[in-house]
């Protein structure tokens, strides 16, 4: 009997713990420290009528990587929050947006499948706020066949920026990494330089290629360019390589969890030394500073859009919409802003259209016609346009961790990428930067 009692007690403790962990702390993660507080006007999304839209819904969709090791769902989540806000404010001239997103679980086969699904559903007028880590190339094949266009929130692999029917709002890992490199270059800290990346398709090698080309061109000594396996757990070799190479500065182009592990190993080996450590926008998350701890005070990150604490019409609206319409623990990061902005661009493109005639064709025309779109979240105007490459966002900001939170380090700077000549030329020749 005694034994049974003891067993029951042990089980009870276990159950209690499970129950505790299931109700994840609903703490004050919603508000961002140091950001201006919202006012009522911030929630006047779209038409801002304050009345719920009741017309026939407009179907919009997205494909994002939410499970399978990487979670980039903050982009479609914020897009959804914005659409909800628009629907509460008269919608698209009275018609609400019905938004859904599919999780590709880091599997390109699934990305292709989801893309094909939305492409074949002709009631889906556009893709907005996508954030796939793996499958832009296969998705674009489907979109192209079906005449469907995506205002992607977060593009990661190369194909997201070199596709006919996909245009991301973010700058992408390559641009973000080059931005960091060029920031250090301006500070005179870039020589010698070290880069760390992730070996996933069209991502790590693409970033490495950009860094190699740029350092060669700028005469910077690239002392290390390492791509690690996504399943790697032992970052000691990496850290030891960094220690040996003794660069002046270094950029990590990995998702936040992996970056955190690398930093933990570096801390354990006390490898910070005189090296200026930095990360691309993938670690630019309001909570990241707190996570990696005091040792990393002065850690630098790129931000592909405005800082999460920035003051500005769209920045304020993003925070207000997130607080009102999104989960309290939804991340407040660059990618959330990107999804939000993608949705906003989309709504603004649709509002002038004839409500009766909203179908894939008319919507695609309107989306393709977006040019010179200005927002305080962006450094330069955003555009779509018919082309085989879409990379409108190539000017970014820098942030630094001070007392556990990111603060602005440097304002908007255009990023130089040796392979971007065509894009720049097109921006000029087609006048894409002005409406």
């Amino acid at each position: 009997m005694n034994r049974i009692l003891r067993a029951t007690a042990a089980l009870g403790v276990g159950a209690l713990v499970v129950a505790l962990s299931a109700c994840v702390a609903e703490t004050d993660t919603g508000t961002i420290q140091g950001a201006p507080s919202a006012d009522a006007d911030d929630l006047r999304c779209g038409l801002g009528t304050g009345e719920e839209a009741t017309g026939e819904p407009i179907k919009v969709a997205a494909v994002a990587t939410a499970s399978g090791g990487v979670d980039f769902s903050s982009s479609p989540s914020s897009a959804k929050a914005y659409f909800d806000c628009v629907n509460d404010n008269g919608g698209i001239n009275g018609r609400p947006v019905r938004y859904e997103f599919g999780d590709d679980a880091l599997d390109p086969t699934k990305t292709a499948q989801l893309a094909a699904g939305y492409a074949s559903d002709t009631s889906v007028v556009a893709m907005v706020g996508d954030a796939t880590f793996v499958g832009c190339d296969v998705a674009n094949v489907e979109y192209e066949k079906a005449g469907l266009y995506s205002i992607t929130g977060v593009g990661v692999p190369q194909a997201c920026f070199e596709s006919s029917n996909i245009a991301p709002v973010n700058a992408g890992p390559r641009t973000s990494a080059l931005a960091t490199l060029q920031y250090f270059e301006r500070q005179g800290q870039a020589d010698p330089f070290f880069a760390i990346g992730l070996n996933t398709r069209g991502n790590g090698d693409w970033v490495a290629d950009g860094i190699e080309k740029y350092t060669q061109q700028a005469g910077i000594d690239l002392v290390g360019d390492v791509l690690s396996d996504p399943a790697e757990s032992n970052f000691l070799p990496l850290v030891s390589q960094v220690k040996q190479a003794a660069p002046a500065s270094l950029v990590v182009v990995d998702p936040a969890p992996i970056t955190a592990s690398i930093l933990a190993t570096a801390e354990q080996q006390d490898a910070k030394g005189d090296i200026q450590w930095a990360c691309t926008a993938s670690c630019y998350d309001a909570q990241f500073g707190e996570q990696i701890g005091y040792y990393w005070e002065g850690f630098v990150a790129n931000s592909e859009l405005a800082l999460v604490t920035a003051e500005g019409e769209d920045a304020n609206q993003w925070r207000a919409v997130m607080d009102e319409y999104a989960d309290a623990d939804a991340p407040r990061d660059t990618f959330s802003q990107a999804g939000f902005l993608a949705a906003k661009i989309f709504v603004d493109a649709l509002l002038p259209l004839d409500t009766e005639n909203l179908d894939r064709e008319t919507v695609s025309e309107a989306v393709l016609g977006v040019r010179g779109y200005e927002s305080d979240l962006l450094c330069a105007p955003w555009y779509y346009g018919e082309a085989d490459e879409h990379h409108a966002n190539h000017a970014t900001r820098m942030a630094i961790i001070e007392s556990g939170t990111y603060v602005e380090l440097e304002g908007c700077q255009d990023v130089a990428d040796p392979d971007m000549a065509e894009i720049l030329e097109r921006e000029q020749s087609e006048g894409l930067l002005t409406e």
Partner: protein, 290 residues
């Protein structure tokens, strides 16, 4: 290149593999169940510790709770599935634990997903230099604990009545029952002990590697490699095996040309050991009578 940090890191990870391996081995020898869910139980414990610390619980209490949770999960599985498992062959027993591993993995991913998480035990913040390599207290704890658990398990198996009963079950389950051993009680104890060991190793591994559900779950593969090197029998050889796998992995990773394959070291080692160990198998008469 200074290889010492790699040797140290390898020894540390290896000692946790060994620690896990001991947990797997005790359960296997007592119940015949090769627990593929050992890593998942550890992952669960580690994430619970992380979560409770997030909820402002004192770390020592949280760790104790995590270990208790590991023991409870394993015990519960043993309690519920044990009687059915006793009736099926060893292969099916192992496959059933694959199911448990998947279920636990699903729960972990559902509750915690894959967000950036690091768990730094307080002891990891205290570190010092040993002959050019940096060592922290957690790492010392790992090494000491592995030794301690091996020695402790050996002593317990020899000198306590529960340990004696466990050896009896491992030797001849039916005979043990016939001479009066309460088989179910011993098995349930083995599950709980092995679960607690899984919890401890999970927490240590999460501190030393990554706090990610899938990653921790599939650490069972190198842990099994340690057990395989121990030939499913010897605690000492399991300890040696774990250390060897850890150091091998770490040293391979130090060489840039082959470092991409360092994660494959445990697989290769275990496969070779299994193939060599079972090289001289012929059709046994036991099969004839089966």
């Amino acid at each position: 290149m200074n290889l010492l940090p790699f040797v140290v890191a390898g020894l540390v990870i290896g000692s946790v593999y060994a620690l896990s391996g001991v947990g797997v081995l005790v359960l296997y020898r007592t119940t015949g169940v090769l627990n593929f869910a050992h890593g998942a139980v550890g992952g669960m414990a580690a994430l619970l510790v992380w979560q409770t610390v997030e909820l402002r619980m004192q770390p020592p209490v949280a760790i104790a709770l995590g270990i208790a949770a590991g023991a409870a999960i394993a015990f519960l599985f043993g309690l519920v599935a044990g009687p059915s498992l006793a009736r099926v062959d060893q292969l099916r027993k192992a496959i059933a634990t694959l199911g448990l591993a998947l279920a636990l993995l699903g729960v972990m991913l559902f509750v915690w997903n894959d967000k950036a998480r690091t768990m730094r035990l307080e002891t990891s913040r205290i570190s010092f230099d040993v002959a050019g390599a940096r060592v922290n207290v957690t790492q010392l704890v790992c090494l000491a604990l592995a030794l301690l658990v091996v020695v402790g398990t050996l002593l317990a198996l020899r000198h306590t009545s529960m340990g004696t009963s466990m050896r009896a079950l491992a030797s001849d389950r039916e005979l043990a029952a016939v001479v009066g051993t309460n088989v179910r009680l011993v098995e349930n104890t083995a599950w709980a002990v092995s679960g607690a060991v899984a919890g401890i190793s999970g927490i240590l591994l999460a501190d030393q590697t990554r706090l990610e559900p899938a990653f921790l779950t599939f650490l069972i593969i190198p842990e099994l490699a340690a057990v395989v090197i121990g030939r499913f029998v010897s605690l000492w050889l399991t300890l040696v095996g774990g250390l060897a796998v850890g150091v091998g992995q770490s040293l391979v990773s130090a060489w840039p040309t082959v470092s991409a394959f360092s994660t494959a070291v445990p697989f290769v080692v275990a496969t070779i050991v299994i193939l060599v160990a079972t090289r001289r198998r012929v059709v046994t008469v036991g099969v004839v009578r089966a």
